[in-house]
Symmetry: C2
Subunit: 816 residues, 2 copies
């Protein structure tokens, strides 16, 4: 369709008469609009947009002739729908769910109505009906593809720090070694792959080679990190961090323009590959959610149903978030539950089904790309052959408690550091900060083999069972091959003790570095670092329990299962349980966490241990510090997020919260006794986004609500259209049958009046009001007493009140 920027201006009378809009029907609770633009072209068009609404509402229920009006009015809207700004919001403002959803239903009704007209409209109707599915299909396809590219890129660049494949530089180490001869793969070396010291003519052994490799490692890391930080700084500041706190806020109905834009997407993908390759203590799983949501946002613009309607767009974003987790972990069901439990706000069942479809498609595509070169699309696929034993629940729960404690330490320290960064000079040097952290990470990571390797590899190693062929230090057991009964259970050898010490060092190092890394101005997630911390702790506990079982085989606790000589304790399982515990403590995920871990392992067998640990960890975390990392970062940034999980447990009433407070007066407009001068004075003196209309200043009986923006425009329009308007003209919000013979002609503005604002009484408990704000997606509500207006409660007022009651700083809520 073409754009018609001047259409309404050219027929202003029509525009004016169809102005009665959203007010009458769809603007409940929309009030205090965020849009304060003065672009009158755009506005006039907005007015005609509303025509459909008005026509539908004025016709009586049984009046079929209303349909003509309806479709005529609606076609205006569809046309003007092509003009930018319709149904959109300003940056950093809250959306009005009710109005957006009503707008969509109106669209839908119009299309259903039109369907019978011609083949073309029938097709348009079919396209509209399918566009949701088509959109999530495309999102799934693209998310899978992008995830594949990121996985391949990150693997290649991570290997680049160590060496190169001279015959084919585009291959990573695994593929380089894999293609010609598979023989040497296990030993970790192959002739095709050259380390940098080999390239420079040195041997691969010896102190010189070590130093050269060390230096190359640091230089590459610095290069990658510098590139990543500079790209983010220069092109897309929103590409930094994990993005999940912002996604949560956006899905709860907030506008952050550009956060899901194409530049953010591109820079986040490139920066993510770079920062992962730099060896920083961060993961690419969290940012995958941001990337998927950006894809969802961009693709939604192909479908006007979603692209032009912020509330509907959030359905696509919820599905995209599910796809993001799905590709991050190869866990489609876990992804859907993550979206449902953790990030989404408005999640109707239709969205559940589409999210599932989207997540599945994304996982399917990623598996087809097969970036890891194995048959599983997951990062660390493990399969244990031993069931767990009932008494193991004790160490599992202990792991949960330890996980909760580690998570709390991490959250508190990270928050402290982020707050320091935010309010100190440090925040002005993001690239320098990244470089310093990179150097420290690289210098300390290289000497320890467990930190030198890719974090995903480390997790995989920690999760895995010790086979007899496994040559890692972790599997260095003194196995007695002569005694059949003792092959599997064995005393730990020197290697295991060495590994334990290195792992303890790695644990401390990773914990500290992650605290400083998460929140830096590069794309960084903390799923993988959290899992890694937990896996280390878990493996350590697992080895401890295993050796305990070996030493005290005859003890009654172990005798049932371990005395046969079988390997009754699987340290890898402990690593997995520990990983779940720390991740659960950090993010406060519950069901989705267990399902993700369950999909990673592919068996229901270990759900009970995982669940026990996740529960213990969450409870310990909740007891030690109320918020998960994402909620804490939301609070730190002052986003207006009204958490649907927290219960409002206080006893205040609407009268305690509403504006104005005692001794202040509420700015109202009377329906028929204010002059134009009065109103222009009011608009000048106050900055409210909307004004209640009352019968008279004395009675304060509520008539409706009018938006500041609408008021400005309607006055300008009337001045243009009606001759003789002057400062003494009365402004009337009543029906126009009061004939006024004397004085200048009045301004008749009933058509911009929202006659269905959501109201509550002053005695309504805040519990109910918080519930209404959450469930109905309100922006504000009017407070009345016996039909008389007392005040207004906006979402910001509610958020501030919640903060205040929780003894937090109410001024930390920044946006409305």
């Amino acid at each position: 369709m073409e754009k018609f920027p001047l259409k309404s201006s050219s027929i202003p009378l029509n525009a004016a008469t169809t102005y009665q809009t959203m007010n009458k029907k769809y603007s409940n609770g929309s009030g205090l609009s965020s849009v304060t633009s003065d672009d009158s072209d755009m506005i006039d068009i907005t007015t005609s947009t509303a025509a459909g609404d008005r026509n539908t509402t004025t016709r009586s229920q049984d009046d079929d002739d209303g349909n003509l009006q309806y479709s005529v009015g609606f076609s205006n809207m569809l046309e003007s729908g092509d003009i930018p700004g319709i149904g959109q919001y300003d940056d950093f403002h809250t959306i009005d769910w009710q109005r957006d959803i009503a707008r969509d239903r109106m669209r839908h009704r119009y299309i259903v109505k039109k369907k019978q007209d011609s083949i073309w409209t029938l097709l348009a109707g079919a396209h509209d009906a399918w566009s949701g599915w088509l959109c999530v299909l495309l999102v799934g396809l693209l998310t899978g593809a992008v995830a594949g590219v990121i996985d391949i890129g990150a693997t290649w660049m991570t290997d680049l720090k160590f060496g190169i494949c001279p015959q084919a530089f585009w291959l990573n180490k695994e593929h380089c070694c894999w293609s010609p001869s598979e023989a040497d793969l296990d030993s970790g070396n192959c002739s095709q792959w050259k380390t940098w010291s080999e390239i420079l003519g040195h041997s691969s052994e010896g102190a010189g080679a070590y130093i050269i490799s060390y230096l190359f490692y640091i230089v590459w890391a610095l290069l990658f990190a510098a590139l990543s930080a500079s790209l983010v700084r220069m092109f897309a500041p929103y590409a930094c961090g994990s993005g999940i706190p912002e996604i949560k806020t956006i899905l709860s109905g907030f506008i952050i323009r550009g956060y899901l834009g194409k530049w953010t997407l591109i820079i986040k993908c490139v920066g993510l590959i770079l920062s992962v390759s730099a060896g920083l203590s961060l993961g690419k799983e969290g940012p995958m959610v941001h990337i998927a949501c950006a894809i969802g946002n961009i693709l939604s613009y192909l479908f006007p149903k979603y692209g032009r309607n912020e509330a509907k767009k959030r359905e696509i974003l919820s599905a995209a978030a599910a796809a993001g987790v799905s590709v991050a972990f190869g866990a489609p069901i876990g992804g859907v539950l993550f979206s449902l439990e953790e990030v989404s706000y408005y999640f109707p069942l239709k969205t559940l089904w589409r999210s599932f479809f989207c997540a599945l498609i994304a996982a399917f595509i990623l598996r087809s790309i097969n970036p890891f070169g194995n048959e599983h699309s997951v990062l660390f696929f493990v399969e244990y052959n031993k069931p767990w034993i009932f008494f193991e629940l004790i160490p599992f729960i202990a792991l949960g408690i330890i996980g909760g404690v580690i998570a709390t330490i991490f959250i508190k320290a990270n928050l402290y550091w982020c707050r320091y960064r935010k309010y100190s000079k440090l925040g002005q040097y993001p690239v320098t900060e990244v470089l310093v952290v990179t150097v420290i990470t690289a210098v300390f990571a290289y000497p320890n083999p467990y930190t030198r390797m890719n974090t995903s590899q480390l997790i995989y190693l920690l999760f895995s069972q010790c086979g007899i062929s496994n040559s890692d230090d972790l599997c260095n057991y003194n196995r007695n091959f002569t005694d059949v009964n003792s092959i599997e259970i064995a005393a730990a050898g020197d290697g295991v003790y060495r590994a334990v010490w290195l792992l303890i060092l790695a644990l401390g190092f990773k914990l500290i570095m992650t605290i400083f890394t998460f929140g830096m101005k590069v794309p960084c997630g903390l799923f993988i670092p959290s899992l890694c911390l937990g896996a280390i702790v878990g493996r350590l506990v697992g080895i401890f329990v295993e050796q305990l079982a070996y030493r005290y085989q005859k003890n009654w606790i172990f005798s049932g299962e371990c005395s046969t000589g079988d390997d009754c304790i699987t340290p890898g399982l402990y690593a997995m349980v520990g990983a779940a515990a720390v991740l659960g403590g950090v993010t406060r995920m519950t069901v989705s966490l267990v399902v993700i871990m369950f999909e990673l392992t592919g068996g229901v067998r270990y759900i009970v241990p995982l669940m026990a640990a996740a529960m213990a960890s969450k409870w310990v975390g909740d007891a030690l510090g109320r918020q998960g990392i994402y909620d804490a970062h939301i609070a730190l940034n002052g986003y207006p997020f009204l958490d649907s999980k927290d219960e409002f447990a206080h006893t205040s009433l609407a009268a305690d919260v509403m504006q104005p407070k005692r001794n202040e007066t509420l700015s109202v407009i009377t329906q028929d006794s204010m002059t134009l001068d009065d109103i222009e004075q009011l608009l000048k003196e106050t900055e409210h986004n909307g004004y209640p209309i009352v019968v008279s200043r004395e009675s304060q009986y509520l008539v409706g609500f009018v938006l500041r923006r609408d008021l400005n425009l309607a006055i300008a329009n009337e001045k243009r259209m009606v001759d003789g308007i002057c400062g003494q003209s009365l402004v009337l919000f009543t029906s126009g049958h009061t004939i006024q013979a004397l004085g200048p002609p009045p301004l008749k503005l009933k058509r911009i009046l929202d006659m269905a604002p959501i109201t509550i009484t002053d005695q309504t408990p805040m519990e109910t009001i918080v519930d209404m704000f959450r469930k109905l997606g309100l922006r504000q509500t009017l407070v009345t007493h016996n039909g008389r207006l007392l005040g207004v409660i906006t979402k910001k007022d509610v958020l501030r009140h919640v903060k205040q009651m929780d003894n937090e700083d109410p001024n930390s809520v920044l946006f409305n």
Copy 2:
């Protein structure tokens, strides 16, 4: 604690002064209360219950001294909470979610407050905090145990129709044959197990033995069915059917007293074993949800937090429903999603986590009981070793379409029959009907081996792959063992063709019998019959595609995968996909269906085919007939269920829906100008459950809302307490400072006034109102215009309006 039935009566003044209750704070939208009891003892106590509320609401936000009042008032409530009837509702009435949840938060605040008082209150607080988890733990334990008992009982009694284990009559056939020698198990016969003809001295072969077995089969079936139907008829009429439509309605906030009671539980368990054993075309999976919910309901009475609060109780019931599906299919995650998607209404995230826990515990217990004697806790565990091929999506989608058609035929025919039963004489002879259907089922089922066997066994057989050792007709392929390339793919033998004909007969038979069976007055579910219908269709299609692939191995479609001689088509997988399609079409489940099927097979590999079929089936079903079987039965029974999945897509306004209609007058009470006679006249003439209070009959400015029941009681109380009250006394709902010197003393009733009713304006679109009713759980809302009262909209009005707009009979909504 003791009960204090007369406590408030003994201090009536206190009761009266603390009466201001819920009105002020917690009764938003509660209006039109369902309790019309006149038991004044109970009522006085109710009034003191409210004290906590009033005290909390009247104190100012910062007033800490209010806490004393608060806890004093609240302790009244806790004491009176022991008296039956508090916070409860009458049978067949709708609950008020907002008030119940507010009551619970009040309780919670009180307990948190009290915690510091002593060790005892600390323990009580801890117990309260844990009671939710403890309750779902118990529900899970008991559900798993009961499911185990039912499974064992049903298996034993099903085998009893064929024979008995003389050495140990309590063993079923499998266990009987299993214990002494395992050798003969595969052939289906063992020496320990005697068929009835053997017991009677005949051989197990020959026409005589066949006739004896046939007769025994019919007689046992009749006996079981008669017993089941009689038990249900005599002891627990609610135990019939699957129970899922009623559970959905109950979870949406409706009271059906006794539906989840102990008698229903016991009779449903026993009747379920009997009716399954009778060989009727029904399953025990749906009723398992009802059984689990009954367990949840009964156990919730152990915890006052849940037992005494209908809204909170529904959290336990949601978790119990998840446990029910979890034990029915051995699918805990599927169970939780089923609860979320299909049956639950109010499902906060806390409930998600608890439901998961509950489902897991139940599955764990059932697995420990191990009723099926194998290592999987599921009915039909299958594992395929072949991946599906991309072109197979075509037959899978075709299966989805066929499934949707079969499901629609089933739903329409079943509904027709149920409606006929309901309005004809047939409904008066439930036992006779059961007996007739049983005889027909038994007579026609026995000759066909596929209908003679247990339906679960048939499904298992249809799902399974044909191994070389499998001797069933279905696996009678002409395998060419000399050619290595053609061992697996082979032409169908005579046995397969025979099996195909028998399966087609079985399909028709099962479809017809299930139509007549579902809705009879015995416990019966339709998960298993639906799965069975789908599995038969799927297997038939699978065999067809398989033979197609064999015949046209060289065709380009098949050449890629099938030309190697491998068995490229797995008919068992088609059976599973078909089963999912029909079940999806019948119940309109989506995600939960796929997850249940995925948990049955234990692999993500077949999610895409399952999903494609489920989607196709749902869309076909939705196109052919709007409702799933459960929603159709809800509508048939006229339950007040406001579906949260349907969108209200019409354009009516509050003014179109509200009562009274044009030309009628609304019954209101003025705040200070009506005499006692006027009000008693009003109460006599109208039957409304509540009355709005307005400033004056002329102005109609809304002041508040008063319940009929409260009004009756308060008048009686005033008459008792104040001397000189007569018919001419004014009834005042204003604050009492208007001193009236003349005439009889007035009745001051401000304390029973609900000053925070939910109000909307007459211009509010019904979309918004339906949304508010769903999301806030309202019972009614008041309609105003400029602060003036116009009318009332109740949930029943909304339901009727929805029906009317959908061209259905609005009078089919029976309850409010």
